[in-house]
Amino acid sequence: MRLTVNRATYEVDVEDDMPLLWALRDELKIKGPKYGCGIAQCGACTVHLDGIAVRACSITTKQAEGREITTIEGLGTPDALHAVQEAWVEHQVVQCGYCQPGQIMSAASFLSMHPEPTDEQIDQAMSANLCRCGTYPRIREAVKAAAAKLQGA
């Protein structure tokens, strides 16, 4: 199968039903998306498919074929942070950090669709991503800050 990840094209030889997460992590060695639950409960594996946040553990590689896959590595880099990542750094959101690639990918997708979100919309959109460390108060702040940054940009 041919996959387009972060604007690069890859050939992978995997079963049609292999979850995209494992094609990314173990075949393409793209480790930003994390394995947390395997059943779309935690959101640690969140990537964008044509700009929309999806759970890479619960869509198959076949379903992702021919579509634009973006992982946290493709969103921004330490030298060129995406506005959401900038906000995450400024608000020092992370603790263990394991859920944060998924949180950031969810937030980026959400803000692209809701540039001026209400508190309630933020709460709803971000509740599908689990954080065991309890960084939620800072996630809320960072999402709002990112929204302001994106509006100003």
């Binding site: 995997v14 173990d26 947390g36 395997g38 942070l81 263990c96 065991r132």
Partner: protein, 746 residues
């Protein structure tokens, strides 16, 4: 100020050695004649030199042996060294270093002494000194018990100071300028003319000279870093997906493995892997203790193959059904199960006897899982000569021994490379992933293997928090609490945890009573009795350990008594308090929350105070009873850790502790049926979701004399404060966790 003469000689000797291309500053765990026979059997291997600071011409490396579980331990340790070394974040690397006795935890030992943290008597301090010596003797390198900051606070600054002064001496020798005329900043020695000699340029000279020993720690007024907001060094990597966790490690020709182990923790009687062996990508199926391992070319293929293996599991070595676990605990409030009477002020029996009416209540706290988001695993390679393992564990020297027991290697040939881990909450105090990785690696010598547990396997093999119950009897009169008589029956998580690695814990288990016997209240009749239930399902330390349950029982029951007395929950706690630092904490939370001000209809406010790990913490919670259930609106929390190293990380840890405490109190439990945990993934053991998260307002106080850690202490008051708030809003007392068995949450 602490000087090396006062502290270091008692605990460690700082020295230096030449290393390739430079110098290392650290300490020797020296075998030396000593009056105390306990200290006489340090093994030869423990006389090794262990560095804190390594400087070569290539760069500066700071050694940070406390495991970073997400609590920011690497940055905290680096900041303490850098404070005295005069080097900035960005100018050094960190490395957890090899497991070594010299990195023994100086702070865990003294906390085992059975004295209230507020007790500064001769006996209390003598006991702390004794247990501290045991810690030194046994060389326990551990991360836990909120001890990383107290363990590191002086010794790492001293290590930085010794390195700095020695580098100045090297610069003086190299340039002929007098030491008094030299300054240090930004990783360099500054000469009077303003020119700089970088530490890396001085490394070779420093290696040749005797290290300066007579250093004095700087006065806090001179601190550049400590106490000021910092940016943790892992913030950017963790916000960009560029930080490598253990699960992300990649090596050439690496195999991907998973395990399937008896969920009843009994033996595996037989298995059939024929279907699995025929599946794509499956390389091997190997027997391991009580189960099987699958080795494949992709983690998912290993998971799928493991599902396809049929296993005949033997029975559980504990009651198969949850009800029998509860019965065992309920039947433990008897003389034969007495673990210790931790406190008896006044005469509780006489007061209860004489009372017209006695307030009674019973509480329960269930098994709860750890389940940090990164599943457990390890990368390992076993050869005939050595074992190399990449894993984050909170007891790396115990892990070494566990591996040695499996592979037969000498402990010195087992090389552990500590990794950043995706959360722990006590999970990585255990060794299942380490020993199973060793069993797999040992059967595939010469191959490199990454073991990853599926989430379901991680749930099944987790060692949950203790199951425990409490019974309270109390008397009130004249608007006051007069008698507080609390009994707790619990399995011993400490005994279970340390028993698995062959360590026995003599004496009573202080964690059964933690947070309940040590309340800083002068109640006329105050008795706290602990009963130990024999081992049921195996359990382990869970963030805040005993206080997470005993604190819930004790503060909830006190709140019931205060209400029965018709007193104000804050006023009465303050009236009873006999510890000034604690009083200021409670006063702060009350003031922050505007305690006493009217709330709207269907709203309620609850307060709780629990001291754990020496840290007094008060929380006030506001809730609203909505049509959809209880909504937690706000949490006001005050805590006193003596000195806050980094206010940003402090705030984050405190908020995280509140979320942890509330989330699990709301909706988490592990129950057993047919000997197996019934909860297999986050849908059944969810914790808090963002939409449920209250606004959390934090205040850190610095009145306490001793510096303390804050990873755990915010947890215990969260559950009772919530229960007390729900009572205030609804009139309903919730005496059992998880609360959602009794009330709905939004």
């Amino acid at each position: 100020m602490a000087s090396i003469g006062k502290i270091a000689r008692r605990t460690f000797l700082v020295g230096s050695v030449a290393i390739a291309g430079g110098v290392a500053f650290g300490y020797y765990a020296v075998k030396k004649p000593h009056k105390n026979p306990l200290l006489d059997d340090l093994a030869n291997g423990e006389a090794a030199f262990n560095p804190w600071v390594k400087i070569s011409s290539e760069g500066v490396t700071l050694i940070t042996p406390h495991t970073d579980l997400g609590q920011g331990a690497y940055s905290m340790q680096a900041a303490l060294i850098a404070e005295e070394l005069d080097i900035e974040f960005g100018q050094f690397d960190v490395d957890p270093g090899p497991p070594a006795a010299a990195y023994y935890n100086t702070a865990i030992g003294p906390e085992i002494a059975p004295f209230r943290s507020t007790d500064e008597s001769f006996q209390a301090n003598a006991a702390r000194e004794f247990f501290g010596a045991v810690g030194k003797l046994t060389g326990i390198q551990g991360t836990g018990g909120s001890s990383s900051v107290p363990d590191s606070f002086e010794k790492l600054r001293l290590a930085g100071a010794v390195a700095r002064e020695t580098l100045k001496k090297a610069a003086a020798e190299q340039t002929g300028v007098a030491i008094e005329d030299l300054k240090t900043a930004n990783g360099a020695v500054i000469l009077p003319d303003g020119s700089e000699l970088k530490y890396t340029e001085l490394a070779a000279t420093a290696a040749e000279i005797k290290p300066v020993q007579n250093v004095t720690l700087r006065d806090p007024s001179q601190w550049r870093l400590v106490g000021k907001p910092m940016q943790r060094m892992d913030i950017v990597p963790k916000s960009t997906g560029t930080l490598t966790f253990g699960i992300d490690l990649e090596f050439e020709n690496m195999h991907h493995a998973t395990v399937k182990v008896n969920p009843r923790r009994g033996p595996m009687l037989s298995y059939d892997a024929s279907a699995a062996e025929a599946m794509r990508g499956v390389k091997r199926v190997l027997p391991v203790t009580n189960g099987v391992a699958v080795i494949a070319d992709n983690t998912w293929r290993a998971f799928k193959a493991a599902e396809a293996i049929t296993c005949d599991w033997g029975p559980a070595p504990y009651p198969a059904e949850q009800e029998d676990h509860w019965n065992a605990v309920a039947n433990s409030f008897t003389a034969e199960h007495l673990d210790n009477e931790w406190r008896h002020d006044g005469d509780a029996d006489a007061a209860l006897e004489a009372a017209d009416s006695v307030v009674e209540a019973e509480y329960r706290a269930p098994y709860v899982a750890h389940q940090p988001l990164e599943p457990i695993g390890a990368v390992i390679m076993v050869t005939d000569a050595r074992v190399d393992i990449w894993v984050g564990n909170q007891f790396p020297r115990f892990a070494q021994q566990q591996i040695a027991d499996v592979t037969g290697h000498d402990v010195d040939d087992i090389h552990i490379y500590g990794q950043y881990v995706g959360g722990s909450f006590g999970h990585r105090l255990e060794f299942e992933n380490v020993t199973l990785a060793a069993e797999i690696g040992n059967q595939m010598r010469g191959e490199i293997i990454k073991l990853t547990f599926s989430r379901e396997e991680d749930f099944a093999q987790d060692f949950p928090r203790q199951i425990t119950m409490s019974r309270g009897k109390g008397v009130v009169g004249n608007g006051k609490v007069d008698t507080f008589d609390l009994s707790i029956a619990s399995v011993s998580a400490s005994e279970s945890q340390f028993g698995r690695i062959g360590l026995s814990s003599p004496g009573p288990d202080g964690q059964i009573a933690a947070g309940a016997w040590n309340m800083p209240y002068a109640i006329p009749n105050y008795r706290m009795t602990a009963y130990k239930t024999h081992e049921l399902a195996p359990t382990s330390s869970w963030r805040s350990v005993g206080a997470s349950t005993a604190g819930f029982f004790a503060d909830s029951f006190l709140d019931e008594l205060i209400h029965a007395a018709g007193a104000d929950p804050v006023e009465e706690r303050l009236r009873l308090m006999d510890h000034d630092v604690s009083r200021k904490v409670l006063e702060a939370a009350a003031e922050m929350s505007n305690w006493g001000s009217p709330l709207g209809p269907n709203r309620g406010r609850g307060v709780a105070f629990v001291e754990s790990f020496g840290v007094p913490v008060a929380e006030v919670i506001e809730v609203t009873m909505t049509d959809a259930g209880i909504k937690i609106d706000k949490v006001f929390i005050a805590a006193d850790v003596g000195k806050i190293v980094d206010p940003v990380n402090f705030d984050n840890q405190v908020k995280g502790g509140v979320v942890w405490g509330l989330g699990h109190a709301m909706n988490c439990e592990i129950t057993y049926s047919d000997g197996m945990a019934q909860q297999s993934n986050y849908h059944a053991h969810e914790g808090m979701r963002l939409h449920q998260c209250p606004e959390i307002i934090v205040r850190g106080l610095e009145n306490a004399e001793k510096i303390r850690g804050v990873g755990e202490p915010p947890v215990p008051p969260a559950a009772p404060a919530l229960a007390n708030a729900i009572f205030a809003a609804t009139g309903k007392r919730i005496r059992e966790m998880p609360f959602n068995k009794h009330i709905q949450f939004v």
